[in-house]
Symmetry: C2
Subunit: 178 residues, 2 copies
DNA sequence: TTTTCCATGTAACTCGTTACATGATTTC
DNA sequence: GAAATCATGTAACGAGTTACATGGAAAA
């Protein structure tokens, strides 16, 4: 669910530290960076192919015993340069904070108040659960950057929880006022 | 940048109040709902075609003088039912809060600290400007729902600003500590 | 007179997802 | 003997974007 540029940044960034193969990269992302990014397996493989075609990484086939052969990627100089350029660019830019589901909020009035409240309560439960997951065993040994990134997601999630609590309070006040 | 379901919800919701043509709908969204949703013209027209094909809306051609003919859409009963179903569903669900640009945060360490700080300061300026835009002349006469939706975006933007301020403070402390 | 507004679209493009395929190997 | 792991992919699908096309009317 990342645009290609951010995928490239992610993969190049990981390859800068360790040359490794697709499976390994994907696994690392799922295990350690899932709080920050979400990269599907086929998308990751395709991105690596493309990075290769663009000359940003090199490949070597590797085989251990008769396990499936690996394609081990390592970053090139062009890749390093690109990584830095992407990093600078992306660090400056902002993401759109409008969620797709906010459209529904706009039509809240069309639903009986009690039902709207119930729906938002479900939303709140989900978010609180997410927040709990984010806060327990967050990755620590991965450097300042990753901590900041996770912290960012946590901050936004907390804000969403707080907003939901406030909104629910206001809506409940409307019920009582009848 | 909305998935089809949310586009459908948006268009059906507007058509519930007023039957109107594509141009008008798009304009209304741009003018009044841009803080919440972003729907491109070709995407809107395509969505209306599709809603029509699914029997959720009806069309009639209309012509005034010799201005371009209009396709005026009105919601069907199936459309109303669908609207309510989508509304209930979407109100309960949560959006993913991970931004694409958070990947860059993860690699902050790869940049000289001063440069990272400068980049995030730019980010902060942009967000503050967004926040100002959001807060001035926000739509009022559009009902509780829209106010809530805008308020939600505002809350998330404020949280992002606050997070950036905190992060910058911590990073500056690191510079001073050298 | 040039620009903007009205009103609809098409075409070309990139993107990303899901589901499936393969085949050996280690673990339960 | 079944299931999960390792490792790579393909195919089919549908979404959404940008840029362009059209053509009259009103506004600057």
């Amino acid at each position: 669910m990342l645009p290609y540029e951010q995928r490239a940044l992610l993969l190049l960034g990981l390859l800068k530290t360790q040359h490794s193969h697709g499976y390994q990269l994907h696994e690392f992302i799922e295990r350690n960076l899932s709080r920050v990014a979400d990269l599907k397996k086929p998308t990751a493989y395709a991105a690596l192919d493309r990075l290769c075609a663009e000359g940003l990484v090199d490949v070597q086939q590797e085989q251990h015993g008769n396990r499936p052969p690996r394609k081990v990627y390592s970053i090139t100089e062009a890749g390093s340069a690109r990584f830095l350029a992407l990093l600078r660019e992306s660090l400056r830019a902002v993401d759109d904070l409008r969620g797709a589901r906010d459209v529904a909020l706009s039509f809240l009035d069309e639903l009986p108040l009690a039902e709207a409240i119930a729906a938002l309560e479900e939303r709140l439960v989900t978010r609180r659960a997410e927040l709990a997951t984010l806060e327990e065993h967050a990755p620590r040994h991965l450097g300042l950057g990753v901590s900041l990134a996770v912290d960012h997601v946590v901050a936004l999630t907390r804000a969403d929880v707080a907003w939901l609590e406030g909104a629910l309070e206001r809506l409940r006040a409307r019920v009582d006022a009848r």
